[in-house]
């Protein structure tokens, strides 16, 4: 056994000078350059995978909405989304928007996540987008919040949010939120195969269902491919690149993905034939509705009835 040098041995401790130097911080982060578009695209691609992970996780549970037939869930969701378009009273719309929150809680979906994923994005931005119309410049009415005094920038009455304008913006936000709430609830509590099976049983053509199913599956394959290309470009680039080169890269990626998708189509078709594909789209097996489904339908009809009565009472 060779003897280890003593700690005070100079040769043992001596390090090259360059290794002892403090690292100089050089800003070589790709994000500092014009690669922001890659970061954003990769973020969106990873959000698709994240979404799929959550869908799988919550759909596998056995709770309230998970135990309801997918056909019933689709029809009830659609009915409530249509109802939201017909209702104009904000109070009734708020009640309608709160129903999916109860369903989410009873189905084991964390309310924080539900709220963040639904209300803090599209509905909120829909509201912000409608806010300019809530001023007296577009929708007239009594002043709610004054933004500028009369005479400001040549405006005789000044600038203010009107009460009817604010309500109009609120309506848009609530309707957008209600629609997304039901979609997310449906997808988070139902496996994709059940969703498409239910669509088939409500007479959506089988050919379209086949295309939809395969599309959903291969979206992840192509996204992975695109994500890998983006990541490779991202980690290899130091400093700035011209926007022209970046656009050229995206053009090449688009073409490359198209070529790969066409190659895949041929391979997938061969694989389908090997597995006995009969060139006729398969038919989903339809199940009878259970007692729980009937109870859910009745309770939904009652809830819709209460909302419609509330709308007519408050309208008067």
């Amino acid at each position: 056994m060779t003897e280890l040098p003593a700690k005070n041995d100079v040769n043992f401790l001596e390090m090259p000078a360059w290794m002892l130097e403090q690292p100089v911080r050089v800003n070589v982060s790709p994000t500092a350059g014009k690669l922001h578009f890659l970061r954003k695209t990769m973020k969106q691609i990873s959000s698709v995978f994240e979404n799929e992970f959550f869908c799988e996780k919550y759909a596998a549970q056995s709770m309230f909405w998970q135990n309801i037939d997918a056909r019933v869930k689709i029809i009830v969701s659609l009915a409530f989304i249509i109802l939201a378009s017909l209702i104009s009273n904000p109070v009734i719309l708020v009640i309608l928007a709160s129903i999916p929150l109860f369903y989410a809680k009873l189905s084991g979906i964390p309310l924080k996540m539900h709220f963040r994923r639904i209300w803090l994005y599209i509905p909120l931005i829909s509201f912000l987008l409608a806010l300019p119309a809530a001023t007296n410049l577009v929708i007239h009415g009594s002043a709610l919040i004054r933004l500028a005094a009369p005479g400001f920038a040549g405006l005789k009455e000044g600038l203010y949010f009107t009460a009817p304008g604010f309500l109009a913006a609120l309506r848009i936000m609530l309707r957008a939120g209600i629609s997304i709430s039901y979609c997310f609830l449906l997808l988070l509590t139902t496996k994709w195969s059940q969703v498409t099976g239910a669509l088939h049983s409500i007479h959506v053509p089988a050919l379209f269902i086949s295309i939809l199913n395969m599309t959903y599956r291969y979206i992840f394959v192509l996204l992975l491919m695109a994500g890998n290309r983006m990541a490779a470009r991202y980690v290899r680039t130091v400093g700035n690149l011209r926007a022209k080169d970046n656009r050229s890269f995206l053009g090449q990626t688009t073409a490359h993905l198209f070529i790969r998708s066409q190659n895949y189509a041929d391979e997938v078709f061969d694989a389908m034939c090997c597995r006995g594909y009969s060139k006729e789209p398969g038919r989903a097996r339809t199940k009878h509705l259970q007692q729980t489904d009937i109870i859910f339908i009745v309770s939904s009809v009652l809830a819709a009835g209460i909302l419609i009565i509330g709308e007519s009472v408050l309208h008067v």
């Binding site: 578009f37 936000m173 599309t215 070529i259």
Partner: protein
């Protein structure tokens, strides 16, 4: 979040219309209109495509979905989204583009809430029908028999993509802008999108003509250039479309189309006409001409409020430009409606004859 707001305002709200902006009276007729379009597209594909159709269309739809996630760099580090509908139409044909983009939009709406469920058909009409079909035929018209990948061919692809996305944006703007005209509460407050045509059209066309249009055109051209270089076989062997076949309908109808465009451009001449056209009298003019108002006319007067009273579409106010634009839009809508009716009648009659 700032980027998300920017992206949403510029792209998602504009073309992926969420629920809440459009009334049921708009979205349900759009579904009614789209069902035969989807049926026709699938029917055409069934006739022309090989047995590989299902995987090819599915992969094409997946491709369409992925393309819509790309952020294309624009200016100063900002980016915009592409749709890729015209690119698919050029390579696979308009019917395949209709089905592929519609499928991608359905998954976006269902799974990610990008675009509403009720406004799905309107979104499909704009992005899966108007954009690829118009873009494809513009491409065919401009490229004529030019060689694939030649400067003329690529310029035609750019024009097709640019005009296609702008037409889609225009249709979305019209859908937005009609809401406050048609659907208001008893106190006049808009029940759905609050912006009139005078706001929605300039806002959306400004953004699409300057940012989204060039981005779409450029991406199509760059991708086609790459394909010509590395996979030229895809142009000749694509399954559903007939890019290599010359356009036969365009030259035959060119004279007719030119005539229609000239007539549409001449419609603002109506502004110079003094007085009311014969037979277009309103009740007050009728009273001054006849001395009384016929009872039947009095009973129906006021029950019908025209969509564009006196052809004054509120595009840019009552100034001469706005009035002229109103005449042109009214003429285009009229021609499309009547032309569509005649076309449908002719198709129905032909089918009946064939059945005999």
């Amino acid at each position: 979040m700032d980027d998300d707001i920017y992206r949403f305002i510029l792209e998602d709200t504009i073309l992926h219309i969420p629920d809440g902006y459009l009334s049921l009276q708009t979205t349900i007729p759009a579904f009614a209109g789209m069902i035969p379009v989807w049926g026709t597209a699938l029917g055409r594909l069934k006739k022309t495509m090989s047995s590989k159709s299902v995987p090819t269309l599915a992969l094409c739809s997946a491709f369409s979905f992925v393309i819509m996630m790309f952020n294309v760099p624009v200016i100063g580090g900002s980016s915009a989204h592409a749709v890729g509908a015209v690119f698919i139409a050029i390579l696979m044909g308009p019917s395949a583009a209709v089905i592929s983009v519609s499928t991608a939009l359905l998954i976006q709406a269902l799974v990610f809430g990008d675009g509403g469920i009720m406004s799905f058909a309107v979104n499909c009409l704009n992005m899966a029908v108007v954009m690829p079909v118009a873009g494809y035929y513009i491409y065919r018209l401009f490229s004529s028999k030019s060689k694939t990948g030649s400067p003329r061919n690529l310029a035609a692809a750019f024009a097709g993509s640019y005009i296609g996305i702008n037409l889609a944006a225009f249709c979305a703007a019209v859908a937005f802008g009609l809401q406050p005209l048609l659907f208001t509460a008893s106190d006049g407050t808009p029940l759905f999108c609050p912006y009139p045509l005078s706001v929605s059209i300039p806002t959306m066309m400004f953004e699409h003509s300057l940012i989204a249009g060039p981005v779409e055109g450029l991406l199509t051209v760059l991708a086609l250039t790459y394909l010509v270089k590395f996979a030229p076989g895809l142009f000749d062997a694509h399954r559903f479309s007939v890019v290599s076949q010359p356009v036969t309908a365009a030259p035959k109808n060119r004279a007719f189309l030119i005539l229609v465009v000239i007539l549409v451009c001449l419609t603002p001449l109506g502004l110079f006409a003094a007085g009311t056209a014969w037979g277009e009298w309103d009740t007050s003019e009728m009273k001054s001409l006849l001395g009384f108002i016929p009872q039947g006319l009095a009973s129906v007067s006021g029950k019908w409020n025209a969509l564009f009273p006196d052809y004054s579409v509120p595009v840019s106010g009552a100034d001469p430009f706005g009035a002229a634009a109103g005449y042109v839009i009214a003429a285009v809508i009229g021609i499309v409606l009547i032309g569509g009716l005649i076309f449908l009648t002719s198709r129905l009659m032909t089918r009946k004859e064939e059945e005999k």
